[in-house]
């Protein structure tokens, strides 16, 4: 049972991550961020794509 719980939580976390990333990008995210997937960050200050970084 505990194995199913761990796996279930991981799957839910992955789904939430993807939904947040594509459907509800953070309001802190740079307006210029195209979500290139080059970083996992949602704030402009941590964007590592120089072509997109726009504080």
């Amino acid at each position: 049972m505990w194995q199913e719980v761990i796996v279930g939580l991981c799957v839910i976390a992955a789904v939430i991550f993807l939904v947040r990333r594509w459907l509800f990008p953070s309001v802190n995210k740079s307006a210029a961020c195209g979500g290139c997937g080059g970083c996992d960050k949602t704030s402009a200050s941590s964007c590592s794509n120089p072509a997109e970084k726009n504080l």
Binding site: G34, E52, K53
Partner: protein
Amino acid sequence: MSTPIRFALIGNPNCGKTSLFNRLTGARAKVANYPGVTVERRSGMVTGLTQPAELLDLPGTYSLFVTSPDEQVARDVILGQLPGERRPDLLVAVVDACNLRLGLRLVMELKTLNRPMVLALNQMDEAKRRGISIDTAALSQAIGIPIVETVAVNSQGVNALRKLLDGYAQQPPLAEGEQTLAISDRQESVEALYAEIESLMRQYVIAPAQMPRWQDRLDALVMHPLIGLVVLFSILLVIFQAVFAWASPLVDLIDAGFSGLGELVGALLPDGILKDFIVEGLIAGVGGVLVFLPQILILFFFILLLEDTGYLTRAAFLLDRPMRGLGLSGRSFIPLLSSFACAVPGIMATRTISDPRERFITIMVAPLMTCSARLPVYALIIAAFIPQQTVWGIFNLQGLTLFALYFAGVASAALIAWIMRRRSGREEFPLLLELPSYRWPMAYHLFMGLRERAWIFVRRVGTIILALSIVLWFLATFPGAPEGATQPAIDYSFAGQLGHWMQPFFAPLGFNWQMCIALIPAMGAREVAVSALATVYAVGEESIDVALGSALAASWSLPVAYAYLAWFVYAPQCISTIAVVKRETNSAKATAFFTVYLFALAYFAAWATYQIASAIVA
């Protein structure tokens, strides 16, 4: 809390603004030895000042009379005309000491704004090496602007500049006044400006009559319309050979590491869902993609090397004429080149293109340049289906195949650009790019560039690819096979059902339902096609790379493999690319056209490849 004082770096393209920005702020923004790297304004806090101060790094511009969208950004920020942007308190004009005449034009225009300004005379080391002598103190007095000599790439003069900025930051702020651009771009005004610059150059600069002869000779060779193309073609061929030939030992090492990890986890954990999840979902999914890191790094090593030597701008000039035949120009070269890394920054880099129609066409064809996310898919299928044999004594057949795939993308982009341009009238915009000096590549730039690419890739693997692999494993595992099932369990899973549902549509292309499943997560990130295939073919504890290759070789025919490769040459672009096309074109219609045409192209190319290859094999 008071608003920090704001400085802005402004100067010609490729004069070293971003290097200076990195040195002053401690940032690690990309720098390269070609113009047009910065297309948006970038911001950071200056380190080492007694007061907080923000520094803006603006796209390069030759004049305040702008011709392209990126130059417009620089001008609007300087003039305080960008909505929501505060006007900078002090301008830091950056001028390449080797191109003083060109830099002074912008400085003299900026001077008419009557704004506080300092001048950073950058690349002084290179100027001295070329025998250029500048009487900085006298020039400063003549133009009434403090000048600091800098060599941004190794921090020389950066502290002096910082001290000057600190001194300014401690002064009471000046009242905001109205400003207008006091000069015009009328011919007589430009002539007067140049006369003034020539006078300054005569009085304060001693320069040798010619550039170093070896650079001229090299330029005559690499920019020759015919020999230059042969040189470019040869360089690219060597790069793609190296991607396969050099990467193998490292790929094998990473592969062995993940295989060992899979076996270890398999031995430690009791049989059950958790073990399946970790071994077949996480390790196979993530490991299957991460093994391609060496190939990506080798590709970028060469691109960075060419960037840093100054060759890439020559390539842009070289390709200007052939590209004009297609309706594009050398200006499209750098956005298209950037797209080999990722289409997103490539599409954003089209802002340097003055002609709106050319910009639109470049956006439409940029994703046909093979981005690094496609490399794992190509590498997997090539390794599984193309024998590792030498051709014509020197070439590796796998490397040649990879070259052919990249070439197919480029050739298709050329054809589509030509068709699109024929459908619209054209206006000639001459290519104006500054030709940088050749220089020995700097190990620091190479290291930083490779570190950035490696980090971007590893982060993608650790986030989006990991998440997609988990979801995919779940869809491929649940629901389990019913009692008395005769087919493999995945046939009954959600993924299996989806694959079976999609398969009739892709049947003319020869795709089986497992291949159809992999197409869906590949829309999120192309590399996930590899982990998706690892999941649906249930590759786990064995050597992931080898085992998956063997599984594909056993279940796909050669025409099917070719068709799958053709699909990925044109594949409908990832979600991020579609989003950035929407933003850059600001048109739902253009975005819909972009998505549909690429999908249709991918479908047709895969269909044609499959049919032709099947006919040949038969």
